[in-house]
């Protein structure tokens, strides 16, 4: 997970759903504050996979047009194999699953293979 700039901070564009779910954070003013919110996100959502923090200039978000949320699959050759449409409309995990299944078996570790339901 690449933690990027907030989508709905309380001081800019807060959503009712944020208030209901008690996810109310103002725009972080520095990297430390962003890290604090990101930590809360990972803990409360129980995210198990590695999470990195985009630097405060948002260089990674800009390179990948990741805001507000987006999924990428990069193959072992370093090429984009799947790019979701921008969130929230285009954030679809099932599309990722289908594209993971298309990758050659030799390119995927067991961790990346979608689990059969």
């Amino acid at each position: 997970m690449v933690y990027i700039t907030e989508a709905h901070p309380s001081d800019v564009w807060q959503m009712e759903s944020n208030v209901k779910e008690k996810v109310v954070f103002a725009t972080p003013k520095n990297e430390e504050e962003r890290a604090f919110i990101a930590g809360a996100c990972v803990r409360k959502l129980g995210i198990k996979f590695p999470a990195v923090l985009d630097e405060f200039g948002n260089s990674t978000e800009k390179a990948y047009t990741g805001w507000p949320d987006r999924i990428y699959l990069i193959d072992q050759n370093g090429h984009v194999a799947y790019k979701s449409r921008p969130g929230p409309f285009g954030f679809k995990a099932d599309e990722l699953g289908a594209n993971l299944a298309k990758l050659p078996k030799s390119h995927t570790s067991d961790k990346l293979q979608p689990k059969p339901e």
């Binding site: 800019v12 919110i37 996100c41």
Partner: protein, 155 residues
């Protein structure tokens, strides 16, 4: 000038509504002016009925709404191309109905398409892990396996 603009808008709208041939809405600028210059003192102008007047008013109102709607779409489209912070600031002043009033999802998908396409080389980056135990070099972890990247935030 404004009236002429609205009249041409009215023609377009009337065509869409199937009332272009009602006879009371100018078909085109040139035809309208030709009619005015060729008018002779002996010619008798048709007296518009009450129904026709209302049609003309309705077409004018619809045209005005259409022009306003185009302006709104252009405004939102421009905002979508700004930085996330600026876009969020603009949207914070918008009522939720805006999502119904404009083709938001289509516009958003196109505005945020980005430059990176399927098959392109993924840009490299080095970012600190949240637990601050290490710096992740993307190209290093991508050497041995494919990588799924989920961009997102808590809010």
């Amino acid at each position: 000038m404004v009236f002429r603009f609205l009249s041409s808008g009215a023609s377009l709208f009337a065509l869409l509504l199937g009332i272009a041939n009602s006879g009371y809405i100018p078909q085109s600028g040139s035809e309208r002016y030709r009619g005015e210059f060729m008018r002779t003192p002996s010619s008798i102008s048709p007296v518009p009925t009450k129904k026709a007047r209302w049609k003309k008013i309705a077409a004018g109102i619809l045209s005005a709404i259409f022009v306003l709607w185009i302006g709104l779409v252009a405004f939102i489209w421009r905002a979508m191309h700004k930085t996330p912070e600026d876009f969020a600031r603009v949207m914070s002043h918008m009522p939720w109905e805006i999502f119904l009033a404009v083709p938001f999802e289509t516009m958003w998908t196109r505005a945020r398409a980005g430059d990176l396409n399927i098959g392109d080389s993924a840009p490299d980056f080095s970012l600190l892990r949240l637990d601050k135990t290490a710096t992740i070099h993307f190209s290093e972890i991508n050497k041995t396996q494919p990588v799924v990247m989920v961009f997102g935030s808590y809010t």
